[in-house]
């Protein structure tokens, strides 16, 4: 799918041309600031669809939907699932699938509390051990794929099954572990920092992460969504408008006072991964391997090493997700993250049509995941039974991706 997306998006200036055509713009096609209308629609079609949905919600539901504390609560609750999405993005970028990632997260979530409760390991040490466990699972996946040459689907389906089983074994058949104030009390910071919606970040921290995010957003739009053929003033105007809308929206909604610390941690994590994927040789090599492993090999990039590392990163993200989920729940529940697999992939695939021109992209995945959650909760707020949430998620995913490809094909 990714090939098509990019290929067709860029065709207007990408067709083979003779030298004299280089400077002369293609005739018979109206251009706005150097971009054709279809190009604009295909670039901004899916984001526009989301904006449209939220505008409809505003008109329809008003304050029922635009309730910043409810929406921040959902964001906070979705953090573990979105951390899994981050891992999925890394894995998809290298051209592989990790189907074990949600089971890995479930097991890690159980183990972090289990080590603390059953083995009296201090919680910080339990966290480190769990991060190690998740990474090792990722390493095993990576080695199965690169050294044993097992198809990633099959390998991770297998390890996923093993992890699911290990979770059952370790939990004695699915019994939850619930530390209480009298029995192995969890330190308050564990829940507050990593899981609690009520623990709000201090204003300087919130402002700091907001500025980082806006900078990242503008940079991403500039580099990915806006074609370089667009003239500079137009570009600056668009970026300034986006920044104004975002900052204004934040100021009006007052969500800065409601950002919980686990959301801040998630955003910092996403920023870190985004920098890793965009600004380091390692990240660029990951994309290269995902695009064409053979060509990567001939360009001197180690395919096996980068593939393995992508699986390790996915495993690490699974561990983080598991830990944050357990912190939010304050207890260990077997299979708690199993259901996050499909939403995680949905968010990651939405990234290819949102702001990233067909590439799997960290911010695109974050935006896609949040968008999916809010569309569903908007409908629930409007009276649709909450049991329909997954149906809505699936339909929105298909709709957004289909819109982009239909527009591209209709040129």
């Amino acid at each position: 799918m990714a090939d098509k997306v990019i290929e067709e998006t860029l065709a207007p200036f990408g067709d083979p041309v003779s030298p004299d055509e280089v400077s002369a713009p293609r005739r018979s096609r109206a251009r706005l600031a150097g971009v054709t209308p279809t190009e604009l629609i295909s670039l901004f079609g899916s984001p526009a669809l989301f904006v449209l949905i939220f505008v409809v919600f505003a008109l329809w539901l008003g304050g029922d939907f635009y309730n910043s504390s409810l929406r921040m609560l959902e964001f906070s609750q979705a953090v573990p699932a979105m951390v899994i999405t981050l891992g999925v993005v890394v894995c998809l970028s290298v051209g592989q699938f990790d189907l074990s990632i949600a089971y890995n997260a479930s097991l890690c979530g159980f183990v972090v509390i289990g080590l603390f409760y059953r083995n009296d390991v201090p919680i910080w040490a339990a966290i480190l051990l769990t991060l190690l466990l998740g990474s090792v699972v990722g390493l095993v996946n990576g080695l199965l794929v690169t050294k044993m040459h097992i198809n990633a689907f099959i390998a991770t389906l297998g390890t996923g099954g093993v992890l699911l089983g290990l979770g059952r074994v370790y939990s004695d058949g699915g019994q939850a572990i619930t530390p209480s104030p009298t029995d192995h009390p969890l330190p308050p910071w564990f829940r507050d920092y990593l899981g609690s919606f009520q623990y709000v970040a201090s204003t300087p921290v919130a402002v700091g992460i907001l500025l980082v995010l806006v900078a990242a957003l503008l940079h991403t739009i500039n580099g990915r969504a806006l074609p370089s053929s667009m003239s500079r003033p137009v570009r600056v105007a668009i970026l300034a408008a986006v920044a104004a809308v975002v900052l204004g929206g934040v100021a009006v909604s007052g969500i800065l006072e409601r950002v919980s610390l686990n959301v801040v941690i998630f955003l910092a994590l996403a920023t870190g991964l985004w920098i890793l994927m965009t600004y380091t040789t390692f990240g660029r090599n990951i994309y290269a391997v995902g695009s064409n492993p053979r060509a990567a090999g001939y360009a001197g990039i180690s395919v096996a090493k980068h593939t393995t590392m992508a699986f390790v990163l996915a495993g690490l993200m699974a561990a983080v997700a598991g830990i944050m989920l357990s912190a939010a729940q304050g207890s260990a529940i077997q299979g708690a993250a199993d259901g996050f697999l499909l939403p995680a992939y949905a968010g990651a695939f939405l990234a290819t049509v949102l702001i990233s021109r067909g590439r799997f992209h960290i911010w695109g995945a974050v935006a896609g995941s949040v968008g999916l959650i809010y569309v569903a909760s908007g409908l629930v707020a409007g009276g649709v039974a909450y049991t329909w949430a997954d149906v809505i998620n699936g339909a929105v995913l298909i709709g957004a991706v289909a819109l982009s490809s239909v527009v591209r094909r209709s040129r």
Binding site: F13, G14, T280, G300
Partner: protein, 505 residues
């Protein structure tokens, strides 16, 4: 129904042949039914005339070698026979006048068969070849008949195709065409991927098929395969039939005909030659891998080493050994410390480009450490330098945000060349640098590579294109089909070597 069709075709063909001729075709070919008749056949592509008023008649039972250098018109004729293109002027008739038209089929190098299916399944796959409900036993019976036609009666129709040798598979493809009523079977360069012994085996069997009534046309670049084996030699040069003789023709006579008027096309360069060589950059000592080796070779600063071999020899592997892309099974590859060696792979689409990515991505990949500061890449600086490099290489369009696959082949190749040299490597390995590239781009690439060597880079050009080697190489290392060094051609011998090989096609 298909079976009946098949038998009907067979009967018609048998009836068309003179009685009693099935075994002794050689002496009386001229009595045979005409299968191909070209009169003033002309094909033009714009200003270029690919075929120029060709008169040619082929008959049933003939085993014909179709020869000529690249671009002489062989493939145009094949496409016309195959019905893929239409002629500009003249006429092409399959079958003789007053008779039902014959049909022609072409077997290409990839054979068009299914490796995971059985011989019988391969033979009967396709429209009109089988009924909705298959009768396995009757299918096997007809399969056996067909196998006998190509002399493969020992092969069980239930065998999976992947378990047959390449030569046997080529014969299956032949049988498949024959069973579909093709009386003219063109075998296009199929032997190029076969080891020598198997190629000869295949040729003998094809000859057998011809004796049974087919017109078999062999297209090959290897003269030794056909000299003395075929009934007739047809040589094309510049779109015309330069030679059309039956019986025995000497190899040298064929070479002479094929070389006529071709030498002027070659451009030779005059650099390098007697100049003293620079420092050794890469040294191979008794290395071997796959079919290659043991092989010893040194690459020097500022010199361009050509590497040549047939497509069977796997000579590109020797180049990939130099580039460090593959590791030797035995022996040692020694690279001067601190030297970066980069590689332009032979197959651009499969091994070269990152298809869904931009020109910038494609050109920067493998070089991004060049723009790294404090662990992070300075994307703006990288962008500027890549754009400048693209301008220098004349990559069109100028926009390095264009997706690479939207560029023409020549421009993709230039972009990849830009990747190869972006980080100022001390040694550059270029495999088939001008494959699928037009003449103007070819010139640009030649001058770029020449300049690269003048700036002190050790360059290896592994190419099966004689013009590349004639234009660039200071010496040519020739790899034979067993992966050994056949000869090393020094600067003085390059021109002669290249014109000779070009003539052979």
């Amino acid at each position: 129904m298909a079976m009946q069709q098949h038998r009907r075709d067979r009967r018609r063909r048998e009836a068309a042949m003179a009685p009693g001729d099935r075994t002794g075709g050689e002496s009386s070919v001229s009595d045979q039914r005409v299968t191909v008749q070209c009169r003033g056949l002309t094909k033009k592509y714009g200003d270029h005339t690919a075929l120029d008023k060709v008169d040619l008649t082929l008959r049933a039972g003939e085993f014909v070698a179709l020869l000529g250098p690249n671009g002489a018109g062989k493939s145009t004729l094949i496409k016309l026979l195959d019905g893929v293109i239409a002629c500009t002027a003249g006429s092409l008739r399959l079958g003789s006048e007053g008779d039902a038209a014959a049909s022609a089929g072409v077997i290409h190098q990839d054979l068009g068969l299914f490796d995971d299916m059985s011989v019988a399944e391969n033979l009967f796959l396709g429209p009109g070849m089988s009924k909705p409900f298959l009768s396995l036993s009757s299918e096997y019976r007809s399969a056996e008949e067909m196998l006998e036609f190509v002399g493969l009666s020992a092969v069980d129709p239930r065998t999976l195709l992947r378990d047959l040798s390449l030569g046997q598979r080529a014969l299956i493809a032949t049988a498949r065409l024959w069973s579909r009523g093709a009386e003219v079977i063109v075998v296009d360069e199929v032997t190029a991927s076969l080891p020598r012994a198997e190629a000869f085996w295949l040729i003998e069997h094809l000859k057998g098929a011809a004796r049974k009534g087919a017109t078999v046309v062999m297209v090959t670049h290897r003269l030794e395969e056909v000299v003395g084996h075929v009934d007739r030699y047809v040589v094309f040069v510049d779109g015309k039939v330069a030679l059309d003789e039956g019986g025995h023709v000497e190899r040298d006579a064929l070479v002479e005909v094929m070389s006529s008027g071709r030498n002027k096309a070659l451009t030779t360069h005059q650099s390098g030659g007697g100049e003293p060589r620079g420092e050794v950059v890469v040294e191979l000592t008794d290395v071997s891998v796959n079919r290659i080796g043991p092989l010893s070779l040194t690459l020097h600063e500022g010199s361009i080493t050509g590497l040549y071999g047939s497509s069977v020899s796997g000579f590109h592997d020797a180049a990939y050994l130099v580039a460090g892309v593959i590791r030797p099974r035995h022996g040692r590859v020694k690279v001067r410390p601190g030297t970066k060696v980069t590689c332009l792979p032979a197959h651009r689409d499969v091994d070269g480009t990152f298809p869904d990515q931009t020109v910038e991505f494609n050109m920067s990949m493998g070089n991004s450490n060049r723009w790294r500061r404090l662990g992070l890449i300075n994307l703006a600086k990288m962008r500027d330098e890549i754009s400048a490099a693209a301008v220098e290489l004349n990559v069109i369009p100028r926009n390095t945000d264009a997706v690479i696959t939207t560029l023409s082949g020549g421009n993709q190749q230039k972009a990849l060349l830009g990747r190869v040299v972006a980080d100022q490597p001390g040694c550059v390995v270029l495999c088939e640098p001008t494959r699928g590239v037009d003449v103007a781009t070819r010139r640009e690439i030649y001058s770029f590579v020449t300049k690269l060597a003048q700036d002190g880079c050790a360059v290896m050009v592994a190419s099966s294109d004689m013009e590349d080697l004639a234009s660039l190489a200071d010496r040519i290392v020739v790899i034979d089909d067993d992966g050994q060094v056949e000869s090393v051609i020094d600067a003085d011998g390059i021109e002669e070597f290249c014109s000779l090989r070009t003539a052979l096609g």
